[in-house]
Symmetry: C2
Subunit: 232 residues, 2 copies
DNA sequence: TAGTGGTCTAGACCACAGC
DNA sequence: CTGTGGTCTAGACCACTAA
């Protein structure tokens, strides 16, 4: 019972909120009131309330007090794991088939999705599960940010997992959309009109672009799942 | 300079990690060492380190110390806003056109995506932007969890925004996939083979299912964007 | 201006896991 | 055993802002 009093306070308050007993906008007790109620130091109460505020469950305003937050924009924590891990977790054999590889200088015509200057390495390939195409990948790598990529062998190991282990990054942006297979129909082994899930990712390391990747999955072979709690 | 010393400590440590100066597995100074280094109380250091641990940037072990964490599965914070808000933020007029509405008893043939017993309200409709179909929505609402839905008027207001304001929820699960328009081609005003982005969401309130919704967006009208940092 | 949260101090005892 | 993180105390001063 003496263990983690701050967690207990947090849980008690969270229960009032999630059960609906305290509606959005309801003013919750002040830190000093809770301190008296639980017979503990103010810092312990503060720890619980700060955690709730960080989680977005309450809003805190000086002088006014703390209030149950209104539901915000829904946000989900989306996991985008390594494709190899996904396939192997299904018990299937994974391989990466490199289709093309070319280095382009800074003078090359800029490709819209990746504005980095300097030399770039362009790769295309197919992720293969149990001998069947699983996803098509088109990738650009900024060689200034990842010089080791020049010598790396991507004919077996996918560029994604190589980068994950060799190049630190600080920010990424995803775009998730749908498209027809189109020109990727042949390498994916589907018709040109087959619907596909397209995941694009731009990755930076401190303002410097590191890589751009576009992965295209035939609709019946992959989907993304996200679990989440509200107001997070 | 006296402001938020714990944030400063956190930022300093985070910089060492993100810059790569401290590789994964590197042992970072102990709380007592940092306390001496910054000339502050141990609790201030603890606050910074606890935040880093919560964020997944470090791992902490008693007696052993704190260590830079290895990159985990990539996770992104995905925003799934109200469709009405998306459309209006583009400066377009929004409306919801209800196509069908029916209440089914517990004895009705169970629909796979929603295993709740009890009465359900089934709705289909189209989200309209500037007079053009934007998305098709199919929704089931558990009337036991949201009794007010029986009287609600969904011919103008979308069920999603009504639920968001009237029914608290505790957990949701998303599935994001691609599909062809198929039988939704007519209401969406596209061909049957048009690729579409499909977002499914199951929502619970404390073990009890609240609602299931399937939204289908023609590929050229919508995509999801997520920004994130590593190891979060 | 008074009340609230924001932050920090300088200790303390404990649990746990390496050594 | 010993060092580390985990947690808590009983204060303190400050910043902000709503009344």
């Amino acid at each position: 019972m003496t263990r983690r009093l701050d967690q207990q306070i947090r849980a008690d308050l969270e229960d009032q909120i999630r059960s609906g007993a305290w509606a959005p906008g309801h003013r919750i007790p002040t830190e000093r009131e809770l301190m008296a109620q639980y017979g503990c130091a103010r810092m312990t109460v503060n720890k619980a309330l700060s955690a709730l505020a960080t989680a977005g469950l309450i809003e805190r305003r000086r002088k006014a007090g703390s209030f149950v937050a209104r539901p915000h924009v829904q946000t989900a924590v989306l996991e985008i794991p390594d494709i190899a891990a996904v396939i192997e977790s299904r018990g299937e054999a994974y391989s990466f088939r490199l289709l093309s590889r070319s280095a382009t200088g800074a003078a090359a015509p800029p490709e819209a999705p990746f504005e980095a200057g300097g030399e770039r390495l362009a790769l295309t390939g197919v992720h293969v599960a149990s001998g069947e195409p699983f996803a098509h990948e088109h990738r650009l790598i900024a060689l200034s940010a990842a010089p080791g990529a020049r010598q790396a062998d991507f004919s077996a190991r996918s560029p994604g997992s190589w980068l994950l282990e060799n190049v630190p990054w600080t920010l990424a942006r995803h775009r998730i959309s749908a498209r027809a297979a189109g020109e990727l129909a042949a390498p994916l082994g589907v018709t040109r009109t087959a619907p596909c899930l397209q995941v694009e990712r731009w990755t930076w390391r401190r303002e410097d672009p590191v890589t751009y990747v576009r992965q295209v999955f035939p609709a019946d072979r992959y989907d993304l799942v996200a679990e989440f709690s509200p107001r997070a």
